[in-house]
């Protein structure tokens, strides 16, 4: 198996990155545009194979020195790559075809392929520069997936999304530069720079920036405002891939860049706190929402919180093995969340009885997030159980499961009552891929689990009870919430983002001030005076540094 990996691996890694770009090239040529649309679902195939290969065997890598690209895939990366590729593959089956002929279809397709390349690339990027490149790819073109239809809401969501994305880029650029500067030999390989981090003089600055930068991507409270807006505004397929695959760029970022080899209790605990706060905050706001897509977004905020908390514990206790377990938890979320979004899309196109099956499926998927036995979710919980241990963290994890249960049940009921949208969206392909992804979301994690351990122990009574009781609490609180549903406070989607937008608008008043200053400075006497002062300042500087 590993021998095979060494033979096929490098090729697959390069193909993972190349395939979407090749399809893009085809798409840009008007002649082959139709062909490109048709074969888009095949673009993630190499990634799928590569992921499977990595889960099974030893890590493998590939170098393209001419392009300054170096790739590398290990087990955690493999788990996420596999899941992400699966989602991209299934959703691509209808995503581009559907849009065809509608306004902005081409723009959407180009953004789709670019985002795909980035989203798959982050899991295999091995050096700072490559990672920064693919991270930019997964973040920035997605703007056009979010702001696809040009209604006010999506414009706003797009602007907010882009602002956060660019801010994240800037923060990460600083972080990466610090990492590179801290590496004595001048290597930009992620493993080297992270290994050198504990000894680096810029350790804490780099860690802070890494957590903030990727925290934005995974919507760690209070950096989460963009996520609900975005997923509510984005078209179903876009929301599915972004919430499923796209967000995991942040997870892999934390996995790759947090120095899990050395213990950082302080930063670890900070991350744990931030994580659990997000986990419960997401649910608390989520249950007050009316719109199913927004609720799913908040559940993502909550789930990513759990992941952050898990990584925080690993960081505090220098637990390198944790990476794989967290990756598995995240991979499960990739599939389930994407499937849930497609379900929302499916439900919207049906009504009456026809909704029953999808709603049941939605319930199963939702509870899978909460760890329902016999679903991938149970395995996911199992994977991170030992990490949280039996202490306060363990309890918090259990409670977050309960909270998720509550949120998901309320979500299903809201979904059941959601108005039927125009049937136009209901293409056959969409229904098929929805079904396929739903099934995959429930089964694939089981297949991937052997990467971590045996699934048998899930069925031990004690473990079962551990899984069940939080869900019972969750179910009861869900019932309670449903009773008082109309008395819940109405909180705008994205909650604090509203305040953030206000602050931003306030900051715009800086513009006119600057303009006035500029007009003064561009007056001749002012400029002449400035020239004189610059000269004298430089003379004085020379004298001072004698």
């Amino acid at each position: 198996m590993s021998a095979l990996a060494q033979q096929l691996g490098p090729g697959l890694l390069i193909a993972t990155l190349a395939a979407p770009l090749i399809v893009l090239a085809l798409f840009l040529a008007p002649a082959s545009r139709g062909l490109a649309r048709a074969i888009t679902p095949l673009a993630p195939a190499p990634a799928l194979a590569g992921g499977a290969l990595a889960i099974g065997g030893a890590p493998f890598g590939a170098e393209l020195p001419a392009l300054r690209v170096s790739l590398w895939l290990d087990r955690p990366g493999g788990l996420l790559l596999l899941a992400a590729a699966l989602v991209w593959l299934i959703v691509s089956v209808f995503a581009l075809k559907e849009g065809q002929g509608r306004p902005n279809a081409d723009r959407f397709a180009i953004a789709w392929l670019l985002t795909m390349a980035g989203s798959l690339g982050v899991f295999i990027a091995a050096d700072l520069l490559t990672f920064y490149l693919v991270y930019a790819l997964v973040s920035i073109p997605a703007y056009y997936l979010v702001a696809h239809d040009e209604e006010a809401a999506s414009r706003r969501a797009g602007a907010v999304y882009l602002a956060f994305a660019l801010l994240g880029e800037a923060v990460l650029l600083l972080a990466f530069v610090m990492l590179a500067a801290g590496e004595p030999s001048g290597s930009v390989h992620i493993r080297d720079v992270v290994a050198a981090l504990p000894a680096s003089p810029w350790r804490d600055g780099a860690l802070a920036l890494i957590i903030i930068g990727f925290g934005m991507k995974i919507a760690l409270v209070p950096l989460h405002g963009w996520m609900p807006l975005t997923y509510r505004a984005a078209p179903i397929p876009a929301a599915a891939v972004l919430s499923g695959a796209g967000v995991k760029a942040g997870v892999i970022g934390l996995i790759r860049f947090l120095p899990l080899s050395a213990a950082f209790p302080g930063w670890g605990e900070a991350l744990v706190w931030a994580g659990f706060i997000s986990a419960f905050y997401g649910v608390a706001i989520g249950v007050t929402q009316r719109d199913p897509k927004t609720m799913l977004a908040y559940s993502s905020v909550s789930q990513m919180g759990v992941i952050a908390a898990a990584l925080g514990i690993a960081l505090a206790s220098a637990d390198q093995g944790a990476a794989t377990n967290v990756a598995f938890y995240a991979a499960n979320h990739v599939l389930v969340k994407a499937a849930l979004f497609l379900t929302v899309g499916a439900v919207a196109t049906l009504d009456g009885r026809a909704r029953l099956l999808p709603l049941i499926l939605a319930g199963l998927l939702g509870l899978s997030l909460a760890g329902l036995p016999l679903t991938g979710g149970a395995l996911a919980k199992l994977a991170v159980k030992d990490l949280f241990g039996a202490g306060a963290a363990g309890i918090a994890a259990q409670l977050s499961a309960a909270a998720t249960t509550a949120l998901m049940l309320v979500f299903v009921m809201r979904l059941a009552r959601s108005p039927a949208a125009a049937r136009a969206g209901a293409s056959r392909g969409r229904l098929w891929s929805w079904a396929a992804l739903a099934v995959a979301a429930l089964l694939i994690p089981g297949l991937m689990f052997h990467a971590i351990g045996s699934a048998a122990e899930v069925l031990e009574p004690a473990k079962l009870w551990d899984a069940i009781w939080p869900m019972l609490i969750g179910a009861m609180s869900a019932a309670g919430l449903w009773v008082v549903r109309d008395r819940l406070p109405r909180i705008p989607a994205g909650d604090i983002v509203v305040a953030e937008e206000a602050a931003f608008r306030a900051s715009l008043s800086l513009g006119p001030t600057t303009e006035r200053a500029d007009r003064e400075l561009r007056q001749w006497p002012a400029a002449g005076l400035a020239l004189l002062m610059v000269a004298l300042a430089l003379v004085a500087a020379g004298y001072a540094s004698r």
């Binding site: 007009r519 561009r522 007056q523 001749w524 006497p525 002449g528 005076l529 004189l532």
Partner: protein
Amino acid sequence: MTSATLAGLVGAALVGLGLYGLIANPQPLRKILAFNLMGSGVFLVFGIVARKGAGAGLQADPVPQAMVITGIVVAFAASALAVALVLRLFEAAGRATLNPDGWTEPPGDGAGAE
């Protein structure tokens, strides 16, 4: 107090004067005057340098002198171009001022002579 030192002081003073005129004088033509004044001050500094470099039977180092001659010609060319611009501006706009404000927003295509 040699004539060279004296000229040096004058040169410095001229630079200061020209500088002031160049910055504080509102009319472009006066700025051009000030520029020439300042320039001649700089040339005088060259002159001092040349004078202090007297030797080898020469009363002054010829190299800086040559530079001054080149400089004077260049300064004249500059003044000529500047004056032409001032006059053109005066013809076109009825005023000769460097004030950036108050120009009409250029007609749509900023593409100049296209």
